[in-house]
């Protein structure tokens, strides 16, 4: 069995466990390549039936429009159920306060909206496309990660996972975050996208865009960020390696307009994937701190 086949089998086994063990699961869908891969795996897991759970998108209002367009296209094409949790609504309702200053991002505000959406819809399991190779704190994440009533992750209370046995028994009010593609690497995802011929948002491919330099990273110019007078600007060919918010996702200079070029570029890249995520760089344990309070 090839590595991709092995990973696919493992992921589909996990996704079927979610449908089998929980009453009201959902699939957290950001529109990025990982959640598109996860959606495709879920569709395979229940073929020829459609997937027995809705997609949940936590919409910061700062998304790349290309991502939202593809999300809506996939939902229409496959007749999927989509639930959108809106960060803007939570800001308007005064549940969260927008960050100030030139580094302002809505990334951390997503947590409140996510937890509210889980509670309103009474989800008992939320699948996400996080991978263990992304970040050190994620390397310790279980496949089934139990969260308490407050959505909190406590690394000391994580259940041991033995062999392939997954324990999803929980109390009322608790929920489980599930990571079916935990053991995939960034390149595995790309190879799989090529093998299965999956459509991904166009911003992953090289395109011309207005960018500006901040902290040695090229950031996209958008309505959601303040570009200072002194910031260096240019209009050139770039692509994005991850799809986060426009306010915190840096571009890479690239001419790769085809999957093969992208794969060659990532295979030879000297920078880690999350190296282009400003939200991880805020402090040494930025990801861990966010996970503890209920981040994805």
């Amino acid at each position: 069995m090839t590595i991709l086949k092995q990973l696919e089998e493992e992921s589909i086994y996990i996704i079927r466990e979610v449908a089998g063990q929980f009453n009201n699961p959902c699939l957290l869908f950001s529109g990025g390549k990982d959640s598109i891969t996860l959606l495709h795996l879920a569709q395979k897991a229940f073929a020829p039936a459609s997937i027995p759970f809705p997609l949940v998108h936590i919409d910061t209002g700062h998304n790349f429009p290309e991502t939202i367009a593809l999300r809506d296209k996939l939902v229409a094409k496959h007749g999927l159920r989509l639930i959108v949790g809106s960060v803007q609504n939570d800001i308007d309702a005064g549940n969260v306060v927008e960050e100030k200053g030139r580094h302002a991002s809505r990334n951390s505000l997503q947590t409140t909206t996510l937890l509210n959406t889980i509670e309103e819809n009474k989800f008992d399991a939320c699948m996400g496309g996080a991978r263990r190779d992304e970040e050190k704190a994620r390397a310790k994440e279980r496949v089934f990660s139990v969260r308490d009533d407050f959505g909190q992750w406590n690394e000391k209370l994580q259940r041991p996972e033995l062999f392939d046995m997954l324990n999803g028994l929980i109390h009322n009010g608790e929920n489980v975050r599930v990571f079916p593609i935990s053991n995939w690497t960034e390149l595995d995802v790309w190879y799989y996208i090529r093998q299965e011929n999956l459509e991904i948002p166009s911003i992953y491919y090289a395109h011309k865009r207005e960018i500006f330099k901040r902290d040695n990273q090229w950031m996209p110019v958008s309505d959601y960020v303040k570009v200072a007078e002194k910031d260096e600007r240019k209009h050139t060919s770039v692509r994005f390696r991850t799809v986060g918010d426009m306010s915190c996702t840096a571009a890479v200079l690239s001419e790769a307009t085809e999957l093969d070029n992208i794969i060659a570029e990532i295979g030879g890249s000297n920078f880690s994937e999350r190296g282009a995520r400003m939200d991880d760089k805020r402090s040494e344990g930025a990801m861990e701190e966010r996970k503890k309070v209920g981040y994805f």
């Binding site: 073929a47 039936a49 041991p160 890249s269």
Partner: protein, 415 residues
């Protein structure tokens, strides 16, 4: 490319994180921004060398204390293989982490500090690899730089370890011994001149050469995870039993029986993700469609006619206990074997193993991190095999009925 999972075990300060960091660094798994981070941190702490342990110690509490407290999964590749390293800490209170980290491993690396030689914890690490039936054990004698790369030190440690293996080791396991220094990259990736007297392979070459084996058990057992019933006109009569082949294999036309009902029928069709296939084997997912309309649901088992397995309402197993509340006679738990759950009651706790003396003693309960033997009574009959013959039918977890935590893991004894 092949995928192989390797577990690592060592005591605090054996340099395990440094060794893994070294493997990541040398195989190019660390990207330049990550290396930069390690360089900056090392310099800030006034080290003269790269503190590669920073590459893996992921949690803030760990970095504060300089120790590893949970199982971490780390990836790197050689041209031949993809490695997933399950890195778990060595402290006695983390026995459960080591069992967890090692449960899916095909090989295990046990670290030993050359200055200290075999210590009591080494025996515990060794015993766990034996309990789990891991077929390839590498004893890595680290920190050879601190004993001036002396052959005599290595030979003495090797002799003690060989003695342990002779007395307590499974016979069908291959054991390897290798002197190295993770800090200075001696014998990790390349054979080191400072250890010229050592004639074996460097660690990474050894890891590349470990033969991979499949579960060869022949008994066809399939567990149903989910029943697929599309609510579409085109699939009106479709009823697909989606699940996982635990052991053996299934072909179209095979005679099968479904349990607990005991009904018999034939396999009409096997699908993988909507596409028809002729055969599926151990570890694979499939959707089985049956000749007769038979009611079956999640947790039911589908057995091949040829399957020769034990069916019973009582089992005896070796347990590794993983929660504070002890395993005590009279307690009830959920037993989960694969995807199937049933209620069980503890009949008796017979003995506990002193993991450092490697001796058994009588006891009436097992506490956190204890390993011992107990007998269970089952509410429903379970299909089992001894763990040593068939790991996927011979292992199970117990779940606390109050907290729902995974309370322990059991390995069914050979009867």
């Amino acid at each position: 490319m092949e995928l192989i999972k390797i577990a690592t075990a060592g005591s605090v300060d054996d340099g395990k994180s440094t060794l893994i960091g070294r493997l990541l660094y040398e195989t190019g798994a660390l990207k330049s921004d990550q290396v930069q981070h390690i360089e900056d941190k090392s310099a800030a702490r006034g080290f003269e060398y790269l503190d590669l342990s920073l590459a893996t110690d992921g949690l803030l509490t760990e970095r504060e204390q300089g120790i590893t407290i949970d199982v971490s999964h780390i990836f790197f590749s050689t041209p031949k293989r993809r490695f997933i390293i399950a890195d778990s800490p060595g402290h006695v209170e983390y026995t459960r982490n080591m069992v967890t980290g090692s449960s899916t491993a095909q090989a295990s690396i046990i670290l030993i500090d050359a200055r200290k030689g075999m210590i009591e914890q080494t025996k515990r690490h060794f015993f766990i690899t034996q309990l789990l039936g891991i077929k390839h054990i590498i004893f890595a004698i680290n920190k050879m730089d601190l004993v001036d790369y002396k052959q005599k030190v290595y030979e003495e440690i090797k002799a003690t370890l060989s003695d342990l293996v002779d007395k307590h080791g499974n016979k069908d396991v291959s054991y390897h011994y290798i002197p190295l220094s993770a800090l200075y990259n001696d014998n990790v990736v390349n054979h080191s001149k400072k250890l010229a007297w050592y004639e074996g392979a460097a660690l990474l070459d050894l890891m590349d050469a470990i033969p991979l084996e499949n579960n060869k058990a022949n008994d066809g057992v399939f567990q149903i995870q989910y029943v697929i019933r599309p609510k579409q006109e085109a699939f009106h009569d479709y009823r697909g039993f989606a699940g996982n082949v635990r052991t053996g294999g299934f072909s179209v036309g095979d005679a099968i029986s479904i349990h607990p009902s005991g009904r018999k029928t034939l396999i009409k069709k096997i699908e993988k993700y909507g596409i028809a296939v002729d055969r599926v084997s151990a570890g694979e997912n499939a959707t089985l469609l049956l000749m007769d309309e038979i009611d079956a649901s999640r947790g039911d088992s589908i057995l091949n006619k040829r399957a020769n397995i034990n069916k019973g309402k009582s089992i005896s197993a070796t347990f590794c206990w993983m929660q504070d509340n002890p395993l005590t006679p009279g307690n009830k738990y959920w037993l989960q074997q694969g995807v199937q759950r049933s209620l069980v009651k503890v009949q008796s706790v017979r003995s506990k193993i002193d993991l450092e003396a490697l001796e058994q003693s009588q006891t009436n309960q097992l506490g956190l991190n204890d390993i011992g033997i107990a007998a269970l009574a089952l509410a429903q009959p379970l299909f089992t095999k001894p763990y040593k013959e068939n790991p996927s039918l011979g292992s199970f977890i117990l779940i606390d009925t109050q907290t729902f935590n995974t309370a322990g893991v059991g390995f069914i004894e050979t009867t």
